[in-house]
């Protein structure tokens, strides 16, 4: 097998240096009108030093980024079973509608009369989110999941303050299995985190919650379905207990896609829940954003929703939508917004995409989304359980169902010398993005698989066949195959420790990255 080529390219994969290593300051890919040479009004604050930013012509730019793109895995390429991330198909109609001139080319501060359609999109999206979740209100502005968590926790804080208990109720219960953003958010919102230890069955138990309750408890942050891919059977009773103790129930809605159209969080006693439009409602993940995290609120928390809010006015019998952007504009409504999450009104580009998606699916399609997502995960559980340990998958001849994602661990392969990370890297060679590794933390060597509803059965079978073949390879003792993986990916295993110990976070003039790398290797 050829391992080295003269060019550094490998077939379709092109070696591509940094723009800084090949570009120069006089290159450009834009043709702009020549400035007129007007005397400036900068008051002596003109830039002194050069920017030293490389520029490229259009063909060079296109080629640079297309070459980079080919080093990425993507949903459009194959199964992306990353648990808790919901890597489902991103419909292109959503991309088209978001780019309509009437949505993309409007400014957030345009006069209200010129943006009625945008307000209608927000109002319609709010209606869908409230109806699906069974909650009376929604704050649309949070820009991502963690931002939505913050919105919910600040609403809880405001409600407690309104009751005169802002200073006394500081403790927030967070299950050990929670995503890291939950405890981080609680602390950022000024609360103290009290962890509920994990149980062997992967669920949060009412008894454990009750044992922690007291007059200093502000509420609980629970994920449902939880991070082990399980629906919390005692969730309603936990919610009731929290309410009885004077606290509020924040539900992390990261896994809402498992129950959309089948279960309404409002029926479970939830007070606040963020909904990741980039998960359940298919707005693209884009290699790390942008997301959107509208947060639905119960009647108890709705008055504290942040600014801005949409208000419906009737003038001359005509329904007009307007923004309330300041607290004074809500005088007399009983609303007491806790503040503002961001400039302007939130992720409009995600609102149009999510609404397009919802309209496409409809109430019947969304219900099918949840059912197929759960069915696909359970199918993988059934196929893989004989080969990997499924800590919550039930005894040998019995199927204990999971929701939209299925959790395995490496306990059956680790004694033979292969860990979760090795299994993940071996999947890279097989042409797959791996599952989520080592999360949730409550299960050692976790492998969390979320196929989503947009995978056909044959893709699931193909993936299951590969996983089974890898398990057999472990059993055959071929440990090196895993330890050396990946061999066929664009890069071999990358050294995280080196990156963190000697952080090099940018190019600087005088750098020669490629050279440095070569020397280090020698």
């Amino acid at each position: 097998m050829i391992t080295q080529t003269t060019s550094g390219n490998r077939g379709l994969l092109q070696a591509e240096p940094l723009i800084f290593e090949t570009g120069h300051a006089t290159g450009t890919g834009v043709d702009l009108p020549a400035p007129k040479g007007t005397a400036n009004k900068l008051g002596g604050l003109a830039r002194k030093a050069a920017l030293d930013l490389p520029g490229f012509s259009e063909p060079e730019t296109m080629r640079h980024f297309v070459r980079l793109s080919q080093k990425n895995y993507a949903i459009d390429l194959g199964l992306f079973p990353l648990g808790s991330c919901t890597m489902k198909h991103n419909p292109r109609l959503n991309e088209r509608t978001a780019r309509f001139e009437g949505f993309a080319d409007i400014h957030p501060l345009q006069p209200t009369a010129t943006i009625q359609g945008a307000l209608e999109v927000m109002d319609e999206l709010a209606h869908w989110l409230c109806t699906l979740s069974g909650m009376p209100a929604v704050a649309l502005s949070p820009k991502a999941g963690a931002h939505g968590e913050m919105c919910g926790m600040l609403a809880i804080k405001a409600a407690l303050e309104a009751r005169g208990e802002g200073q006394t109720r500081k403790r927030v219960l967070v299950p050990e299995s929670a995503h890291g953003t939950n405890p981080a958010t609680a602390v950022a919102a000024g609360f103290i985190v009290d962890e509920i230890p994990a149980r062997d069955d992967g669920r949060v138990h009412l008894d454990d919650v009750v044992a922690k309750l007291g007059s200093d408890v502000a509420g609980i942050m629970m994920t449902n379905p939880n991070t082990c891919g399980l629906f919390e059977p005692e969730i309603k009773r936990i919610a009731d207990a929290i309410h009885e103790a004077g606290g509020y129930f924040y539900c992390d809605g990261a896994n809402y896609n498992a129950i959309v159209g089948r279960v309404r969080p409002g029926d479970l006693g939830v007070d606040a829940m963020h909904i990741n439009l980039h998960k359940t409602f298919s707005t693209p993940h884009g290699g790390g954003g942008p997301g959107a995290g509208p947060t639905v609120l119960s009647a108890a928390l709705a008055p504290y929703a942040p600014l801005p809010q949409i208000v419906i006015e009737k003038s001359g019998g005509v329904r007009q939508l307007v923004f309330a952007e300041h607290e004074a504009e809500l005088a007399g409504t009983g609303r007491k917004p806790f503040g503002r999450m961001c400039a302007f009104h939130g992720q409009m580009g995600m609102f149009t995409r999510a609404l397009t998606y919802m309209l496409s699916h409809g109430s019947d399609g969304l219900r099918q989304v949840a059912e197929d997502a759960v069915l696909n995960a359970n199918y993988l559980l059934a196929r893989l359980k004989p080969h990997f340990n499924a800590p919550f998958g039930g005894p040998k001849n019995e199927h204990a169902p999971c929701m939209h994602e299925v959790l395995f661990d490496d306990s059956s392969i680790k004694p033979k010398g292969v860990e979760t990370i090795d299994m993940a890297k071996a999947l890279l060679d097989e042409g797959y993005h791996p599952f989520t590794t080592y999360f949730p933390l409550v299960v050692h060597g976790a492998m969390l698989i979320e196929p989503t509803e947009t995978e056909p059965k044959r893709e699931l079978d193909r993936f299951a066949d590969v996983m089974i073949a890898l398990a057999e390879r472990v059993n055959a003792g071929d440990v090196e195959h895993f330890k050396q993986a990946p061999r066929l990916a664009p890069m071999r295993r990358l050294d995280d420790t080196r990156a963190a110990r000697q952080p090099k976070l940018r190019w600087r003039r005088g750098d020669n990255g490629a050279e440095a790398a070569k020397h280090a290797a020698e």
């Binding site: 702009l32 980024f65 990425n72 990353l82 890291g180 129950i259 954003g289 409009m348 099918q368 290797a521």
Partner: protein, 447 residues
Amino acid sequence: MRYLPLTNTDRQQMLSLIGTKSIDDLFVDVPKHALLKDLVDLPKKQGEIEVHRHMARLAEKNTPAGRTAFFLGGGAYRHHVPATVDHIIQRSEFLTAYTPYQPEIAQGTLQALYEFQSQVAQLLDMEVSNASMYDGSTACAEAAMMAARVTKRKKIIFSGGVHPHYIDTARTACEALGLEVVALPAAIDDEAAVSKHLSADVAAVIVQSPNVFGTITDLTKIAEAAHGAGSLMVATFTECVSFGLIEPPGAMGADIVCGEGQSIGNALNFGGPYVGLFATKEKFIRQMPGRVCGETLDADGKRGFVLTLSTREQHIRREKATSNICTNSGLCQLAWTVHMTLLGEQGLRQLATLNHERAIELADALGRVKGVEVLTKRFFNEIAIRVPGDAQKVVDALAEKGVIGGVAMSRLNPKAGMYDLLITCATEMNTDKDIAAYVAALKAVLQ
């Protein structure tokens, strides 16, 4: 349904392999009362034709900026985005990838991030940048909180020139953490006022240049005063194109520079998604919020990139994390990088100069309208003008004449008491005809 590949036959086969009869058996943990039997009360599925028509109807109820003479900024700016940018960010490999947690198959996203961080650092003249934030306002809030961590102090002073939404956003985030936020009275040209409020408990002074009124300021002395008091100077901004022409905050002693990157590569989109830029000094990187990409080597000694310094982040540190932020603004950040690559130094300088020249022409033209006074003396592409009467009414009346003339300061901050003040901006998109239309409409409105 076109997005769902499973057939009923598939579903039956799969259920039988699982060993259950119906799909409801898989929802067995859901409390009986909560498992819906009927569909929720919403419309049923629709084809691409119907949905397209519905969304197009809603879009038509808006007046796109491009159909007007458009002079509105106030934190979001209408610039030309080259066609190449949108093509690249819609490539499947970028659009439908996840956060690069498996770096061996995500070098495309990672190298573009590394290039972004390098470009941002060069543009702002700072040592390091993160991988982007949600937007400028949330980046500014994170800067305030970071300053409190670095200095172990609790008070944040905002100048009267910072965008009111940025102050409100930071106030909400900071007060939740128990920090004190002091916002000085709105002032067109007084960033230096923050220096008078420095004391041993001040974590940071936050100033903006160009500020919300368009004024540009030499921040050097403010930084010196802040450092003398053991505080940080945070410089924020809403118009990043300006740094192609004006002295960047990093060259004037800023410790943290944060602001909105939308102007490069990103459409107006009614306020989001945008891309927050965040840069700081190397010595503070372990207190920096957000994701960051770094260089490393693979097992063969080849250079590659990974997300790094994750020990600051929530997924490792949980309640001890520097911030609860999990995501960045991936595609918007990529759009920024692609556009900046197309511009290069020469293109950016030219673009910035064009903006400035257009704004001078706008200022001159509006200044000649009877009753109008241009209040901003040193500016990049945005200015504050005084109009006779209520600026909000002027803005609304102009809109009826097909001119989006700017934003009334009273809309951004009703408490500032600046009811006759209008903030207006010009970019490379404005033509001579646009400016003439603005002048004619303004004259008519003010008559």
